[in-house]
C-alpha cells in the first residue's frame, strides 16, 4: 500500500496539494510510508488497533442499552499542520476564548452587550445553558471557561471556520495523548526526522490551570476530577486525566457538603476538596439548585461555590455560549469586547428566529445543514443535500414550530486526509478540535484531536456516529 495512486480529487487535502504531490511539511512522512515493504503499513495499523484494545481505551455508546464498549477507531496516517497555519489558529483561538470569557462574565453581571443592543435579552434567557442561579457569580480571577475544545473545520478552498466552541466539558483530549503514544511506536523513525511539537505537556498545564482556582492562602490544595461514573461515555478520559495529574477521581456520592465546605469521604474520615474539574453537566451538579432528580451531583455545592470555598472548572453557566444561536454572535462579541476584527471566522449562520432568515432557510433546505441550537454530538441535525424530501419536510415543520431552536449553515465540503481503508488509501473528511486552557495565561495544546468520518463520503465525525481519530502533528519550522 503506497501513496503513488492516491488522488485527493476535488477536495482540500491536508497532506497533498495534488496527486503525487505532498505538501512540503508532509514530504518526510509520505516518503517514509512509500519506502515501507508491501503490507507493512497495514501491519502497523493492526498493531496500533490491538494496542488500544489491550489498553482498554474504550468509550460507551449512549442509547445502546447494554452500555456497550467500543474502541475509538484509530487511523495511523497523521494529519499534519504547518507551523504558520498553527500560529494563525492559535492566535485566533486565544482571541476567541478571551472574548467568550468576557461575554460570560458580562451576561451574568451587567449585561452590557444586551443593553447596547447587540444581542436580544430573550435569546440569552432562552438558551438552555443559561443558568439564572449563576447571576452575580464571581469565579476566581474572573475566569469562566478554563477548558475549551473548539471544533474547527476547513472548506474546499482551505479556509478555516469555527464550528462549535464547547465550553462545558469538551472531551477527547485523552485520545490526543494516547494517539501520540501509539504513534511514537508506530513511526519512531519519522519522529526522529520531523520537528513535531509535543502534546504531552497538557496534563501539567491542566493541573496548573486548576490549581490557579484554589483559594490563594492554601498551601496544598486538593484538586479532584468529578465524573458521572464508569458508564459515562468519556469515563476513560476522566480516569486518565486524574491519573496523569495525580489527583483523586471522584463521583458525586464520594462528596458531601459539611460545615460549609465540600468534603470527600475517605477511609480516614472526611477531607476537604478545594478545586473540582467537573465532567458532569452544570444542571446535574447540585440537585438543590438545579435538577432535583440528579443523582450525580452534590446537594449544597452551589452554596459552597458562591461563598468562594471551592473552585469549579469550568464555571457553572458557561453552557449558554454553546447555544448555536449565541454562537452566531461570537464575531460581534470579539469586536464589542476587544475592539478587534475576528481572526477566525464563524461558519455563516442563518438564525431561524429572524423571519427573513427563516424563509431563506426554508426555501433552501436542500442546500443547508440545519442544527438544533442545544444539541451536540451530531444528534438532532439535518444535512439537507443528503436528506430525503420527507426528512426535509419534517425539519421544516420543526423549524416553524420552534424557530428559536434552529440555525442553518451552508454545507461545507470538509477537508480530507488519507485513511487506510481495507487494502487501499482513500480520502476521508476531518475536523479539528484543539484544546485551550485559560489559567494565568491562555495555553493552546499544539494540534488537537483530528476526528475523521470513516464512513465513505460521510461528513459526521462524532465518535458516537461511527467516526474515528488521527494523530495531529504540528510541524515547526526546521
Amino acid at each position: 500500500m503506497r501513496f503513488f495512486d492516491y488522488d485527493p480529487g476535488d477536495f482540500y487535502d491536508e497532506l497533498f496539494v495534488d496527486k503525487g504531490q505532498p505538501r512540503p511539511e508532509s514530504v518526510p512522512l509520505i516518503e517514509r510510508i512509500n519506502s515501507l515493504p508491501e503490507g507493512e503499513l497495514l501491519r502497523r495499523q493492526e498493531a496500533a488497533q490491538i494496542a488500544f484494545f489491550k489498553m482498554g481505551i474504550t468509550f460507551n455508546v449512549y442509547g445502546d442499552g447494554q452500555g456497550t464498549e467500543r474502541i475509538f477507531p484509530f487511523d495511523i496516517i497523521p494529519r499534519i499542520l504547518a507551523a504558520h497555519e498553527w500560529d494563525y489558529l492559535e492566535r485566533g483561538l486565544k482571541q476567541r476564548i478571551q472574548a467568550l470569557n468576557l461575554f460570560l462574565s458580562d451576561i451574568y453581571h451587567d449585561q452590557k452587550i444586551v443593553k447596547d443592543g447587540l444581542i436580544p435579552l430573550d435569546l440569552i434567557y432562552s438558551a438552555s445553558g443559561f443558568l439564572e442561579p449563576c447571576i452575580g457569580l464571581n469565579p476566581p480571577e474572573g475566569i469562566w471557561c478554563h477548558i475549551t475544545g473548539t471544533d474547527l473545520v476547513r472548506d474546499r478552498d482551505g479556509r478555516w471556520y469555527v464550528l462549535e466552541d464547547n465550553l462545558r466539558c469538551p472531551s477527547g483530549v485523552s485520545y490526543v495523548l494516547e494517539n501520540r503514544r501509539v504513534m511514537k511506536s508506530t513511526f519512531p523513525l519519522v519522529f526522529n526526522t520531523m520537528p513535531i511539537q509535543p502534546v504531552e505537556e497538557y496534563p501539567s498545564h491542566l493541573l496548573e490551570t486548576l490549581l490557579n482556582l484554589a483559594p490563594a492562602h492554601l498551601l496544598d490544595p486538593t484538586v479532584v476530577v468529578l465524573t458521572p461514573g464508569i458508564y459515562n461515555s468519556a469515563y476513560f478520559e476522566h480516569s486518565f486525566l486524574a491519573q496523569q495529574m495525580g489527583v483523586e477521581l471522584v463521583e458525586g456520592r464520594d462528596l458531601v457538603v459539611v460545615d460549609g465546605y465540600l468534603q470527600m469521604r475517605t477511609t480516614k474520615g472526611l477531607k476537604r476538596v478545594d478545586v473540582i474539574y467537573r465532567r458532569v453537566d452544570d444542571i446535574f451538579i447540585d440537585p438543590l439548585t438545579f435538577r432535583p432528580d440528579s443523582l450525580l451531583g452534590i446537594p449544597g455545592l452551589m452554596d459552597v461555590y458562591r461563598a468562594g470555598r471551592v473552585g469549579i472548572a469550568n464555571a457553572l453557566g458557561t453552557g449558554v455560549a454553546d447555544d448555536k444561536v449565541i454562537y452566531a454572535y461570537v464575531p460581534q462579541m470579539i469586536r464589542y469586547y476587544l475592539g478587534e476584527d475576528p481572526i477566525l471566522e464563524n461558519v455563516p449562520t442563518y438564525l431561524c428566529w429572524e423571519p427573513e432568515q427563516q424563509s431563506h432557510v426554508l426555501s433552501n433546505l436542500d442546500k443547508l445543514v440545519v442544527k438544533s441550537a442545544n444539541e451536540s454530538g451530531g444528534y438532532g441535525m439535518l444535512i439537507g443535500p443528503h436528506a430525503t424530501p420527507l426528512e426535509r419536510e419534517v425539519f421544516a415543520e420543526k423549524i416553524q414550530a420552534a424557530p428559536r431552536n434552529y440555525i442553518a449553515q451552508p454545507t461545507l465540503c470538509l477537508s480530507r486526509v488519507p485513511v487506510i481503508a481495507q487494502d487501499l488509501i482513500e480520502g476521508c473528511h476531518v475536523d479539528l478540535r484543539p484544546y485551550i486552557l485559560y489559567g494565568k495565561d491562555i495555553f493552546v495544546n499544539p494540534g488537537g484531536l483530528t476526528r475523521v468520518a470513516l464512513k465513505k463520503g460521510s461528513l459526521v465525525v462524532n465518535s458516537s456516529q461511527g467516526g474515528g481519530s488521527k494523530d495531529t502533528w504540528v510541524v515547526c519550522k526546521s
Binding site: 482498554g56 480516569s239 483523586e248 464520594d254
Partner: protein, 318 residues
C-alpha cells in the same frame, strides 16, 4: 484514600481470587473423577452445594450433570459467582479505580477478562476445560504478581491484599469441605486407596500436594490434610496463613499495634487469627470438621461486613 476506591480495590482482588478458586473447585472434582473406579456415579452436586449456589443452579439446570455444573460455574452470567461473572465484576471495579492502580494491573485484568469472555463464546469441549482452568489460575497469579511488583504498597494495596487473602482463606476452607460431601461407595472404603487418592486430588487442587509432602509428615491422612490446609503457618493458601497476612495489612492501614485493637474489625479478625494460632487439629476433629469449617466461614463473613462498616460505608453524614 476515598472509601469507594478502597472498596473497589478490595473487591477487585476478591473477585480475581474467587475466579481462581472456582477453577480450583472444578479441577478438584475433575481430578477426583479421573481416579474413581468407573462404576462409581459421578458426583457434581456437592460443588454447587458447598458454594451455596444450589437453589439457583436447580432453578435453571435441574439435574447436576458434569456439563451443567461446569457451565454454571465457569460461564453462566446469571450465576454471580461464575468465573465469567467474577471477571466482569473485577474489571468493572478495576475500571472505576484505574487511575489508582498501575496501568499494568489494569491491562492484566482486561486481558484476563477478554480471555474468559472469548472462551465462553466458543463453548469449549470437556477436555479443553482443563486447559482453561489452568489459564484462569495462571492469570490470577499473574495479576497478583503484577500488583505486587508495580503498585506502591500503600493503603490501597493493603485493602487489595485483605480482599485477596480473605477470599482465599474462605475458599480453601470450602475446598476442604467438598471432600465432606463426596461420598465413598461404602463406609468400608474409608482409608482405602480410593479415599487416599481423593485426599491427594484435593491437595493438588489447592496447589498443596508437593508442599504437604515436604512439610514433615509425609503420609497422607485426612487429619494431616485438614491440619495443613487450615492451620499451616507457612503454606500461603492455608486459612491461618491468609488470616495472619490479612491482619498485617489491616494493621498497616490502621496503624494499631499488634495484639491491640481499636475498631470492631481489628478485634474480630485478631480474635479469629489467635484462635487458629492455639487450636490443634484434634480440637477441630472433636468439633467435627464440617461444623468447624461452617463456623469458620461465618466468622470470615463477619469480618467482611465489619470491614465494610469501618471503611467503606457511605451513609449520609449527619
Amino acid at each position: 484514600m476515598l472509601s469507594r476506591v478502597a472498596d473497589s480495590i478490595y473487591w477487585l482482588n476478591r473477585y480475581i481470587e474467587r475466579a481462581e478458586n472456582v477453577a480450583r473447585f472444578v479441577d478438584v472434582n475433575l481430578n477426583l473423577l479421573l481416579d474413581s473406579p468407573s462404576d462409581v456415579t459421578q458426583q457434581w452436586e456437592p460443588l454447587v452445594l458447598t458454594t451455596g449456589d444450589l437453589p439457583l443452579f436447580r432453578k435453571s439446570y435441574g439435574e447436576a450433570s458434569a456439563e451443567a455444573v461446569i457451565h454454571f460455574l465457569a460461564f453462566d452470567s446469571n450465576n454471580p459467582n461464575s468465573i465469567l461473572s467474577c471477571l466482569q465484576f473485577a474489571r468493572e471495579n478495576a475500571r472505576s479505580v484505574r487511575e489508582i492502580i498501575s496501568s499494568e494491573m489494569w491491562e492484566q485484568v482486561n486481558a484476563f477478562y477478554l480471555m474468559v469472555k472469548d472462551t465462553a463464546q466458543i463453548c469449549p469441549s470437556h477436555h479443553q476445560m482443563s486447559e482453561f482452568f489452568s489459564q484462569v489460575k495462571l492469570s490470577s497469579h499473574l495479576f497478583a504478581g503484577v500488583m505486587d511488583a508495580t503498585m506502591t504498597h500503600n493503603e490501597g494495596w493493603n485493602f487489595g491484599q485483605i480482599g485477596r487473602l480473605l477470599e482465599r482463606a474462605d475458599k480453601t476452607a470450602r475446598i476442604l469441605d467438598v471432600k465432606y460431601f463426596i461420598l465413598l461407595p461404602s463406609i468400608g472404603d474409608v482409608g482405602t486407596t480410593l479415599d487416599q487418592l481423593q485426599w491427594m486430588a484435593l491437595l493438588k487442587s489447592a496447589s498443596a500436594y508437593e508442599m504437604y509432602r515436604k512439610c514433615g509428615q509425609h503420609r497422607i491422612t485426612p487429619t494431616g490434610v485438614a491440619e495443613f490446609l487450615i492451620l499451616s503457618r507457612e503454606f500461603p493458601r492455608s486459612t491461618r496463613f491468609c488470616l495472619l497476612q490479612a491482619e498485617r495489612s489491616l494493621q498497616q492501614i490502621t496503624g494499631t499495634p499488634i495484639g491491640t485493637w481499636r475498631s470492631p474489625v481489628e478485634r474480630t479478625l485478631g480474635r479469629l487469627r489467635s484462635d487458629l494460632d492455639y487450636l490443634t487439629i484434634d480440637d477441630i476433629v472433636q468439633t467435627g470438621l464440617h461444623e468447624f469449617l461452617d463456623a469458620l466461614q461465618s466468622q470470615m463473613n463477619e469480618i467482611d461486613s465489619k470491614i465494610y462498616d469501618t471503611f467503606f460505608a457511605l451513609e449520609a453524614v449527619s
